[in-house]
Subunit: 247 residues, 6 copies
Amino acid sequence: MKILLINPNISESVTALIEAEARRAASPGTEFTAVTASFGVAYIETRFEALVGGYAAACLAGEHWSGHDAVIVAAFGDPGMPALREAVPVPVVGLTESALATACLLGARFSIVAISRRIVGWYRDTVAACGLSDRLAGFRFLDTPLRDPGSVQADHEAALEALCRQAVEEDGADVVIIAGAPLAGLARSIRDRVPVPLVDGVSSAVRQAETLAALRTRRPAAGGYAPPPIKPNQGLPAPIERLLRGG
Amino acid sequence: MKILLINPNISESVTALIEAEARRAASPGTEFTAVTASFGVAYIETRFEALVGGYAAACLAGEHWSGHDAVIVAAFGDPGMPALREAVPVPVVGLTESALATACLLGARFSIVAISRRIVGWYRDTVAACGLSDRLAGFRFLDTPLRDPGSVQADHEAALEALCRQAVEEDGADVVIIAGAPLAGLARSIRDRVPVPLVDGVSSAVRQAETLAALRTRRPAAGGYAPPPIKPNQGLPAPIERLLRGG
Amino acid sequence: MKILLINPNISESVTALIEAEARRAASPGTEFTAVTASFGVAYIETRFEALVGGYAAACLAGEHWSGHDAVIVAAFGDPGMPALREAVPVPVVGLTESALATACLLGARFSIVAISRRIVGWYRDTVAACGLSDRLAGFRFLDTPLRDPGSVQADHEAALEALCRQAVEEDGADVVIIAGAPLAGLARSIRDRVPVPLVDGVSSAVRQAETLAALRTRRPAAGGYAPPPIKPNQGLPAPIERLLRGG
Amino acid sequence: MKILLINPNISESVTALIEAEARRAASPGTEFTAVTASFGVAYIETRFEALVGGYAAACLAGEHWSGHDAVIVAAFGDPGMPALREAVPVPVVGLTESALATACLLGARFSIVAISRRIVGWYRDTVAACGLSDRLAGFRFLDTPLRDPGSVQADHEAALEALCRQAVEEDGADVVIIAGAPLAGLARSIRDRVPVPLVDGVSSAVRQAETLAALRTRRPAAGGYAPPPIKPNQGLPAPIERLLRGG
Amino acid sequence: MKILLINPNISESVTALIEAEARRAASPGTEFTAVTASFGVAYIETRFEALVGGYAAACLAGEHWSGHDAVIVAAFGDPGMPALREAVPVPVVGLTESALATACLLGARFSIVAISRRIVGWYRDTVAACGLSDRLAGFRFLDTPLRDPGSVQADHEAALEALCRQAVEEDGADVVIIAGAPLAGLARSIRDRVPVPLVDGVSSAVRQAETLAALRTRRPAAGGYAPPPIKPNQGLPAPIERLLRGG
Amino acid sequence: MKILLINPNISESVTALIEAEARRAASPGTEFTAVTASFGVAYIETRFEALVGGYAAACLAGEHWSGHDAVIVAAFGDPGMPALREAVPVPVVGLTESALATACLLGARFSIVAISRRIVGWYRDTVAACGLSDRLAGFRFLDTPLRDPGSVQADHEAALEALCRQAVEEDGADVVIIAGAPLAGLARSIRDRVPVPLVDGVSSAVRQAETLAALRTRRPAAGGYAPPPIKPNQGLPAPIERLLRGG
């Protein structure tokens, strides 16, 4: 099985982190192509940055999806994901929705630990878009400026662990989702120091992508996720144009 | 007052329709700049087309917002709107959220009449994102291929009127929203032939944009709609880059 | 355009405050008739006082609506509003629903700052009746006895500003609604001292009333907001009786 | 135990119907005082009529509650009920909330059968105000003009029975609530001809009122249902004024 | 009237407590049969213990229901209740749903005070299953190991009273439900020391069971609470097998 | 990896069906132990049968879980699942929650196709318990008596396919879940004859169980899914008693 891993922002260091965690989580035989946005921002915290990242993800998906069995939009918040699910001929999953799918199978209520205060509004929208706000126990977040997205988990491990514990003790979380591609793998590192299951977006997305590919569900020809109808377009990058023609 | 009208798709005929309806609805003294996406599709029906349209809207907003008091994203479904609300220094409104704001002041439950079956999934997401799904009585839609977005209301006026009446009689709507920029003005034309108030996105958006500009609310410096934090970026079109630097 | 401003309680000082703020917010050419309840309480904090105020508002509406293009029920909590929307032949809006309409166009989640602890239960019902509880970040309220509704904003300005800031920092509000006619205008005064947009009920209602009048939506003849069916009645004040006969 | 039965509309024939059904449903030793609004309409179908009926109910409650152990607002839709719960020193219940309480103990989803199409909007608001919209399977209603509220169940028994059956077969109701004081007792008459439990508002309210009185819960001195704070008032009918002074 | 009181756990001391409170709350002439699970745990705090308790309750119900007019599952959380409502030929109520029914008639929002932190997850599920999460102000709970379920209210009365007051002052509860059969009667003891109505599960359930029996609603023959269809079974205890055959 | 497949009802033919589909869906190297309830009913359609099946599943889980990496409760409706998730030391998943997790990654709204009208009430509860009612487009169901659960898909294939198509065309489903262990595998057989993705509970559960086992999340020691506290018990089957002692 081949999975396309799309980092919708421009940080190669984060792509490397994502890819490493993906390899650790994958089934035997799963291979990855990891690609990084050629345009965009260092890391996405806002709806506007997600709009940019979603467009970058669409360009990458259009260019690279062929030859893969599934696509992962590897940023928490799932920029561009619902759109790509319509347009890409193979299954597409995002980190948030995959982490939520996993978390829902481990407990009734989950909290989300995030890398900044500013990012919470966008994440909250994403959880609501998944229809799961009623299972959200709350958010906990770092509240200091980030030096570098590639080193945030090393720089703040103790603080992040404390946030996880607060989510359990004060918010009543049964499960804690550690959000954001820059934190990929942290759930593994601090697993034994927090008393509830920790869920990681990258590894969840890898397994959910494998699942959808393995189940071989068909591409819809009707309903709200059928391919966009063919119609006039202009001025589009070739990969986008190709997706509009059916992939 | 000056308002920037952004058509996030490439149909000049629809831009003309939007601008004409905007002028009819505006207060004395309100002026419009109407711009059309230089890239994208003929009309947006899907999440993927909305992703493209949202990016086009962002490019147009970054290039043209300066000198205006408010910005309207003039496609139903509000492509790019939440993102632009963060990044553009003046108020930004979309057709859907504006139509919903108007409709909620006219009755308890609204139905939405739309130009195609395919478009409903995307619209439903948008209503949910506004938190108003519980006031949605239902959707009614044309179910025939569209010849031309610029002439859809002329081509299908009787069918659209019948859909409005069904929304009242069968779905129990107190108000009917006629959705989609290509239908701009239809609410006025068939006003006396449907027994409940009809709401139009373009005219609602014009009035809501005027309202936000007139109330002179401040640009947020905190919360989930503050401007995106300044951080490294690369490869972006100048208008997007400028919005990321604060507008 | 002529708008009828109804203060459903007996405080002339609050009527003056409302009218002054309404004039500041209005479009050129908009004129107001401001009327005060001849019976009722000094200010409404509870469902029971709202029942009384709603009846007073209905009497005033029936007596004075004619010759106006829209009616504003100028108390937060919107006493009598849904009922008047059915019975008065021109558009009717309340302060709460109008403030919510404005707030929803400025951010995802709003908090409400109020003049007393006791008032919160009633306000919460009102937000729920608008279907917007999911966007409510929380309430903040003064918790000291009020000397006089006419001077509450002068007496407590610093405390009210602090509540607004707490709503942003602790509740994660994107927007703060300053609730209650006695606080009309405070949003303007402290605008630069709170880091998110502040929304005022009176000015929002003035603009929304102007919008509905300008859009010239029809009076419903069907649905849940059509005029009440004609039927036997007795013992009613003339203005109420007139509304029951169709206005 | 003594219960005050308030008919918030002016139809003596409906008061008689209510009182007869109340006596049938009551525990041994329960006595009723049944009072009819001296002003208002023949029967309440709309929010505006409910505003009038709520005020009439408040006048009757203020005048007559003393010497009773509980008060029933005996119109479906519960006009004035939340307000009276604050202001009357003994428990107050409405027909809708009582019928919902009973229905929720008999199945997961309930439908409501009503006497007119026009009444549904108001009833829907009431169910939502009780927080129970998610358990509502739907509405079914007579769609012919009513000759007389006192004889509606005799005039339309077969049609009403058919509506109940449709609620089960087409809407999937586990329980059917027969709504409206004019239908008091119908649930008993057609009990064996509909395959699910039928719930009647009057008998439910009698039992719930007895329950609250028997449980001797205290009158709140805090929270959102404490008595309204004492403050200046003017121009009020004596019974209302007395309730504002604490009962 | 005869009511079967089922304690789904093995603590005879709690059965005695339940029965005593039931007798205090009952109408004249109501008699009780109180039975205790022959297998299970000392008190139920978790979903797994509730599964065991639900099965024990089913065995007791099948064995003892005959000759009774209604059945009460006398543990908060209502183990087995929805299942028994289908299978037992007379009305079945649980403590939680009954307490919620009562609480909803006394105020808009209720809090729940519980005997342990661990129990909250299960209780939250139960409130959600009743569709009433939106009226839940919050949970407050003892956070110390329990010596004995039979003496928990005597051992912790002051702490429980303090939790009730916090629910009012900090969570904004209009009503407080004191949860768990081991706390039966506490609402009466501390009634005058908490400023809002306190609701007790056992007494509420007794009154609701009497109400359902008195209203003589029919057993459903359709809908989701009709008796389970007859089909092959094996290996079941006689009381369960009898319920599967129709009671 | 070893997975325990629990059929909570007594039909060996259905166990065989489940096991065959599980093997088809599994990753290389995954092995199954399939066990069938020794007591219970032929197939579960109601809450009461689910109570029995849940208890049977708990007995089987306690007896057989050791030596396995995950447990599947292989009946749609997930009888006993939330309880087993607390008590079994390895991950436990149900067919419904697994199918929902898969469906949510394939579209916005799903419909559920079921084997009988009677089963819908119970399934609806289960979807609500997962917090996903807002994404449910509707139910479609066979409405004829079933000859044999083991042959239902062969007996009714054309009817089931038609129900799937109606879910798409009339209810607007993006995805259709084919519910009930007796239909295991049907999604594969009719995959090309329905225009949207079809989701099967058994194969989804196999993949989700593998995912949870592979992610090696820890067993909770806090929160609402920690093991039940140790406390006195009596009269329990050994497998249940062992689970109460920690597994």
